[in-house]
């Protein structure tokens, strides 16, 4: 809870600092604040005692349990890495830098709500707090048509999806006479015959969440928005936002686990569809951000498997997967930003010959990409492993689909590797100067991708 408040306070501090022209110091303020928030979060995690404090805080609206605290810490860590990258990405910003940082932090607050919500109201608020700053950030390159388009698409579809989500919540409320998860539990435990209203509401809420996590057929926004947004915002969206949405989704799914027979087949279908469409479309992409967008859709598909598992360990598996996915994605985007530099080129060819020019950068990228592809012994493999293993007992066909999808996935991930290692560089390509901040990002991501594979069980036990 306190890390959440720290983030909120930090957002306001940053906002005002920006307003008062402390442009030079903004980054350090941000970094200090994030570090503090992270430290507070860790402290909370260590100090957390389910028996003593009771799981519910903030009047039964938010509950900062291990689950929320762990995800919160990861989100803070990710934010910290993104902040490191911002020095370069936002270097052209002057007066509005504080606003950008502030919006990101606000959005992060939304993510915290999603990690810890206990009431559907907080779910709704969290989704909105997460999204509204992002609508703005997506369009923050005001002169860029692509950015405008991304913002408008994201906004329109997001609002539409919010409508669906709300309709679902309303139906749930009507059928269970409750808004909080505890109440839902009670209701589920008490009634065996549940009206169609309830399931419809549940399904609509799931659809709303599917939009947030970009599951087919509610995924259409994501490739366009990822591509059109400024790269750093894309990084933020594809990592923290996706993680928050999934954390929330999983909380929901585990709450309604008892009624799984009514939604699990649908989620399974969505998962299969998402894996196929995500991987299938990614194969054809030649622009990096778009490629990662589709790859991210395919990861959504795999993560949906985690919702189906219905085992207590599934949360840990989701956590591990998201952690590995987030680190890999940040690592990949960091290298991409450096490789593309100011050229604005988005093609995969910006990586051509990177291994010759910047071997360590290429290595870091390769590790990230292979981790995303799920090659052992990298972190991504274990993420996939636990998700697939959890779903295998009840959904063997889906696991087969997921495996096939992974095989297809290899194809486009390897294209990135091939570009870096096996394709000669363009004539005008030269060695890239790596700012220290990026070096740190790449190092952290690489080390994490390698290290998570050593003790995945430990990480899973954190949530």
């Amino acid at each position: 809870m306190f890390s959440f408040l720290t983030v909120f306070a930090l957002a306001i501090v940053v906002l005002f600092a920006g307003l008062f022209g402390l442009r030079k110091h903004l980054f350090w303020i941000l970094a200090t604040g994030l570090t503090a928030a992270f430290a507070v979060g860790i402290g909370e995690w260590i100090g957390y005692d389910p028996a003593v404090e009771g799981p519910k805080v903030l009047a039964g609206m938010l509950s900062f349990d291990y689950y929320a605290l762990s995800f919160g810490a990861v989100a803070l860590g990710a934010m910290w890495l993104i902040a490191l990258m911002s020095g370069f990405s936002f270097r052209h910003l002057n007066k509005s830098l504080g606003d950008h940082y502030g919006l990101m932090l606000f959005s992060l607050c939304g993510a915290f709500c999603l990690f810890s919500y206990e009431s559907l109201l907080m779910l709704f608020l969290g989704v909105e707090i997460l999204s509204i700053p992002l609508y703005v950030l997506a369009g923050s390159q005001r002169r860029s048509l692509a950015s405008n388009e991304a913002a408008l698409k994201y906004y329109l579809m997001g609002s539409f999806a919010t409508g669906i989500l709300l309709f679902g919540i309303a139906l749930l409320f009507g059928s269970t006479n409750s808004l909080d998860l505890q109440g839902m539990h009670t209701y589920l435990a008490g009634s065996l015959e549940r009206p169609g209203l309830f399931y419809t509401g549940l399904l609509l809420v799931f659809m709303g969440m599917s939009f947030k996590v970009a599951a087919v057929p509610f995924h259409f926004w994501s490739p366009d928005v990822y591509e059109g947004s400024p790269t750093l915002v894309t990084t933020y969206m594809s990592t923290i936002v996706k993680m928050a949405a999934f954390a929330a989704f999983f909380r929901l799914a585990s709450t309604f686990g008892i009624a799984a027979e009514h939604w699990a087949p649908i989620v399974a279908g969505l998962s299969a569809l998402t894996i196929l469409v995500g991987n299938g479309t990614a194969v054809y992409q030649s622009r990096f951000k778009r490629l990662l967008a589709y790859s991210s859709i395919s990861h959504t598909g795999y993560l949906l498997l985690g919702l189906l598992a219905g085992t207590p360990g599934a949360g840990g598996a989701m956590f591990l997967y998201l952690l590995s996915y987030v680190t890999a994605t940040i690592g990949a985007f960091a290298v991409f930003q450096l490789a593309t530099g100011d050229s604005g080129k988005e093609e995969i060819s910006v990586f051509n010959g990177l291994a010759k020019r910047n071997p360590w950068l290429a290595f870091s990228m390769a590790v990230s990409v292979l981790s995303m592809a799920g090659i052992p012994p990298l972190a991504g493999f274990f993420g996939k492993y636990f998700l697939f293993a959890g779903a295998l007992a009840h959904w063997p066909w889906l696991v087969v689909v997921a495996l096939l999808g992974s095989a297809v996935g290899i194809y486009y991930y390897l294209r990135l590797i091939a570009a870096m290692y096996f394709t000669p560089a363009d004539d005008d390509a030269h060695e890239i100067d790596v700012p220290w901040a990026y070096a740190v990002v790449a190092l952290v991501c690489t080390v994490l991708a390698l290290a998570l594979g050593v003790a995945p069980g430990y990480v899973m036990g954190l949530v």
């Binding site: 909120f8 957002a11 306001i12 906002l15 903030l58 009047a59 039964g60 609206m61 938010l62 052209h92 910003l93 002057n94 007066k95 509005s96 606003d99 950008h100 502030g102 919006l103 606000f106 959005s107 607050c109 939304g110 709500c113 009431s119 109201l121 907080m122 608020l125 909105e128 707090i129 509204i132 700053p133 609508y135 703005v136 950030l137 369009g139 923050s140 390159q141 005001r142 002169r143 860029s144 913002a151 139906l171 009507g174 059928s175 269970t176 006479n177 009634s191 015959e193 549940r194 009206p195 169609g196 209203l197 399931y199 419809t200 399904l203």
Partner: protein
């Protein structure tokens, strides 16, 4: 009172349809405002008096005025909004219709709802006194947190809405 419900329902549906189908955006705005009034009527029927008031103030009073303002600002108050092809319209209508049908069909056997009804009758639950108490006790956390939302929306709207930031070439 049933007929009052049906009358209001008919009105709201008609206005809503008009809003959707009107060629002139301004007509749409006006139709929507009328729809909102009809909905406010429903709120009163439902014993949600305070809600009805807030609804009228926020929606009809604030949000729709904002819409109208933007419409005027951008000079879009004409009938010549480009239309989609009929084919597309039919497709869209079928889709929306399917959504309705499936939605309603999925909500079958809702009779069981009655089980959940509390036997207490709370004629004053929609009054400001009652709601305020709830808002500042049980819902104090979301209430506070929604400030983040407003702050974010404000900063955001300013960020992309303000003109001329010469020092930020990317903007």
């Amino acid at each position: 009172m049933e007929y009052l419900f049906y009358a209001l329902s008919t009105l709201s549906i008609v206005f809503a349809l008009y809003m959707v189908l009107a060629r002139n955006p301004v007509h749409s705005v006006l139709a929507l405002i009328l729809t909102f009034f009809a909905i406010a009527g429903h709120y009163i029927l439902l014993n949600a008096q305070f809600l009805a008031v807030v609804h009228v103030i926020v929606y009809a009073g604030a949000i729709m005025v904002l819409f109208l303002f933007v419409l005027m600002l951008l000079n879009l108050n004409t009938d010549n909004e480009p239309q989609k092809s009929n084919m597309w319209k039919i497709l869209a209508a079928i889709s929306a219709g399917m959504l309705l049908v499936t939605l309603v069909a999925a909500m079958k056997d809702s009779e069981q709802l009655v089980v959940l009804r509390s036997n207490q009758v709370l004629p004053d639950q929609g009054l400001v006194h009652n709601l305020g108490k709830l808002l500042f006790t049980k819902y104090v956390a979301p209430f506070e947190i929604s400030s983040i939302l407003f702050l974010a929306a404000m900063v955001g709207a300013v960020l992309i809405g303000k003109r001329g930031m010469q020092d930020d070439p990317m903007l």
